[in-house]
Symmetry: C2
Subunit: 151 residues, 2 copies
Amino acid sequence: MTGVPPTPMEQALLEAEAAAARGEVPVGAVITNAAGDVIASDGNRMRERLDPTAHAEVLVIRETSKILGELRLTDCDLYVTLEPCPMCAAAISFARIRRLYYGASDPKSGAVDHGPRLFQTNTCHHAPEVYGGLAERRAARLLLDFFKSRR
Amino acid sequence: MTGVPPTPMEQALLEAEAAAARGEVPVGAVITNAAGDVIASDGNRMRERLDPTAHAEVLVIRETSKILGELRLTDCDLYVTLEPCPMCAAAISFARIRRLYYGASDPKSGAVDHGPRLFQTNTCHHAPEVYGGLAERRAARLLLDFFKSRR
């Protein structure tokens, strides 16, 4: 099969779908380098790994740091299907991610444009550029379907 | 050698000292179960593991979840030598830690009694009981000495 490769956000959505198929809350994340190449791509794995910190964003940050041999991913951008929680927002700040692109808003647990709005606090030492609302409907639909199917 | 075993906070301080000896920012953490037995004990390992998320608290939460086979550590208490950052505070909330005991305050990066005060926000779905200021002077001294030695 030939065809156009998926955009990073499309790839993050595929990771979210794969997470749902594993019984995980469907969130996927991708990190690209300055050239736009995908370095790491993963979905939630809390249940699978029995690790409450195994959110998609944490997993791709950890993988990218390992691959690049760097704690600071200053040229990297992170794509995630859901607005990051405080844990992931802080990890994104520590990793010095350049740009954050997220899909669905998360008024209940998000920490970027809701709740503590971490990147806007004066104890946040690095804030990425933030672009919300990418593929928002598809990202939100995945989550809604997942929670509906479990009721 | 016989003697009184260290308290959990003393053990966390020993982990912080060991972290300093590895060239890591000296923070240590310990998790105990309902009986007060230590389940996991570790210090910062960001540099060693090339992992910006490898804070002491995240490491002991991950280890405890693995050991107990549970994502929710509802009967567990966490001792840490420094007030947790937003990443660790959120991880503590996700893991449903019962009580948090911390040493030195961290006005610059803490997220419990400073900055975003995560446990007091209405998007925080579980807040532990918090006890700050345990062994505060010894915990703070470790950090001060570490940063002084690197200037």
